[in-house]
Amino acid sequence: MTTSSPTSSPTSSARLTRRGFLQASGVAGSGLLLGVSLPGAVGDAAAAGLLHTPNAWVHIADDNTITLLSARSEMGQGVYTSMPMLIAEELNVDIRSIQVAIAPPNQKLYGNALLGGPQLTGGSTSVRDGWEKLRVAGAQVRMMLISAAAQKWNIPESQLRAENGRVLGPKGRKATYGQLAAAASKLPVPDKVVLKDPKDFRIVGKATRRLDTPAKVNGTAEFGIDVKLPGMVYASLEQCPVIGGTVKSFDASKAKAMPGVIDVVQIPDGVAIVADTWWHAKKAREGLAVVWDEGPGAALTHTAMLDSTRGGLASGKVLPLKAVGDADAEIAKASKVIRAEYTMPLLSHSPLEPMNFTAHFHDNRVDLVGPTQWQDAAAGTVAKTLGVPPENVTLRTTFLGGGFGRRIDIDFIIQAAQISKAVNKPVKLLWTREDDMTHDFYRPQSVHQLAAAIGPDGKPTAMTFRMSSQSVTGRVFGLPAEVQDPLMTEAAVAAYEVPASRHDIVKHDAGLRVGYWRSVSHALNAFANETFIDELAVSAGKDPLAYRLSLLGSQPRFATVLKLAADKAGWGTPAPAGRFRGIALMEGYDTYMAQVAEISVDKGEVTVHKVTVAADLGRMVNPDTVEAQIQSSIVFGLTAALFGEITLAQGRVEQTNFHQYRLLRLNESPAISITLVPSTEKPGGIGEPATALIGPAVGNAVFAATGKRLRKMPFTPENIASA
């Protein structure tokens, strides 16, 4: 095993990185790095000392098995393929010949610089954060392998090249990476690397089949729910129906007598039944009687929360985002002013795999296995909560059965660890669907008030934008009240050029815990902005496309995607009988996108037939995944636009399962046509932006169809009727 770095020349930060990795991941002994879900025997190789780690991203075994690490969780967005593609491009290996492993928690090595450092998968950042870093990692190892060959053969490096998993030299000299890996791993990691010119890319930018698909079509992919540890027992947790409530007392006598029950234990979040099977644990909750202290949340209703959020707009606690000129004065003196208010409901994430985690507390250690978007927070918080040294907590990330932001939160991971400690056994905690829907961290409500002064040409001369919503970042990262939540400002300032404008944000705590939900505030702000601009176009008697274009000035990336989506959708030509079109435009995550929705309305029911998308997201890693993420986001965003609403009565979430929280089905999903603009701009994120645009595109189409302006989601028959 080549794990020890030479003690001389320990000053290079790259070298520290490698050593840090080796220490943190425990390659030599524990096999901890083996978040391996694809077939392969990396674990065996590590244990046998046959695995070499030139840097934190590349493992090469003597038999030339090459494992590339993804430091981002695979939750459907394709990082299990796109992250290794970036490394493989510079390492010069065939992407189909490698294995993938998910990195262990190590914020220093695997932190997400775009998010300020946490080892967190979210914010459509994976490709943007990894774009250079991962190619550098691949290039470093390629150079180390070449250096090792040069030393071995006593040939200058300049006469060697690395190709397809081998180093080749003059006179037919060749060695596999595996044959060179032991020696290469002892060399210093080069500080300077030369990256390929993008025109020479052979992997990046090419549509590539996902590496995780084979395991996902035959039942072998391991999700959190599938984890099994020796001696493992199962837990089901009764939590207070009012989020934030605590246990006053409980009577477990009946539950304890039910089949298979091993123990009933109280943890801070509730009372857990531990049993020999999960079904036994879940059934025994019927025999459990808990008296709750429901706490202040017991008074909450969604209507009162929305009123209080609206009240936030007038509270004076405004965080200015952007101001140009004196928009208020312009509006005060204007002869024509348009004002509108937009509201958005609470939403649940509802990934199809309910929250779960497996924990094993033993010997002052905790081993964690399961689906999470935030490895270092999970491991670190469990260490703190259980009073275990941080280095004694291991975490292996499985596939995530959906994330969408829900698995950034770690409540269920702490619970699993606490239950394991209480019963001193490995425990798999699995929430029911009902637990999941009623104990989410919900997408916050929002209220927007927009106003515009309209000039004689119908264009806005001034506009004001004020949004009130709850800060997720405040809860998760603890922002002070006077500090802007950067995620609330997303897409708040639209592309349109208005001579005077003022944009303000109000962080208003409406009393319920809230979480990051796919596209976060893009969805809130783009709905307000893109509906409002449509209202201004209509008021001016202008075509919504032409009106938008007339306000874009010299912003070619916006204009290009807008015109492209419109052209491809047949904007300006008659739609099929009974169908109507709406358009929307946004920049988010450095991605420029426009969508046209083609819809019909029958007795208040909206059917979306076709969505046409044009996007410019700069350079792409895997264009097929880009298309998949746009398709995915449209279905996700359309689900919210048509159906999505969480309501509360007496502090209790009223929706418990999919009959009350409807998700779009195959027969309801539109045809989606996607055009990607060839671009050499820096990469943009694509996991989320399309989510935010489909709502306003559909709402604007409903206006075209019915003359009813939808300023409130979801677009249910009731809300359309009352619009």
């Binding site: 939750m75 079509v217 035959n218 039942g219 072998t220 199809l352 969408f404 669907r433 089905r665 027969n667």
Partner: protein, 154 residues
């Protein structure tokens, strides 16, 4: 009080109580974890298996109801991804998170058993009980058509 039935061609004696949902017997007792739990109310289709060839929601099927019958799970399609639907799913890169896909595949397999030339309306009818939160629907539709074409050619 065990329940004897066949799963993927193999005879098993499940010892779970008769009212235990088949899903949990398959997953936790028999150890085949391809079949997933999503809702527990037959609303999402993640737990779809075949019972004597018909698609059923195993979360709402008590194990007592399958006594003497034949159950097939996603693992029965093939372990090496040679079933035409698995081939098509890979060709179209259908799965994203992948959690619902076992159920999607079993609903699609039941459809193609009955109907080798499904129209869009047939696909809608057969697949509308399976939720995909990642929205892989356009690819599911395309992959079913590819698989049908391949089966008709074979």
């Amino acid at each position: 009080m065990s329940t004897r039935f066949k799963i993927n061609g193999r005879v098993v004696d499940a010892k779970a109580e008769p009212d235990t949902p088949l899903l949990w017997v398959i997953r936790d007792e028999i150890g085949l974890t391809g079949t997933k739990y999503g809702c527990g109310m037959a609303l999402c289709g993640a737990c779809t298996v075949h019972l004597d060839g018909q698609p059923v929601r195993s979360c709402q099927t008590p194990v007592s109801a399958v006594a003497g019958k034949s159950v097939a799970t996603v693992e029965s399609l093939s372990r090496n991804n040679t079933h035409p639907l698995q081939v098509a799913w890979i060709q179209h890169d259908v799965p994203q998170c992948g959690y619902c896909q076992s159920g999607q595949l079993m609903s699609a397999a039941a459809l193609l058993k009955q109907n080798r030339q499904p129209t869009d309306a047939d696909i809608d009818a057969a697949m509308s009980g399976n939720i995909c939160r990642c929205g892989t629907y356009p690819r599911i539709r395309a992959a079913i058509k590819s698989a049908a074409a391949a089966m008709n050619k074979a």
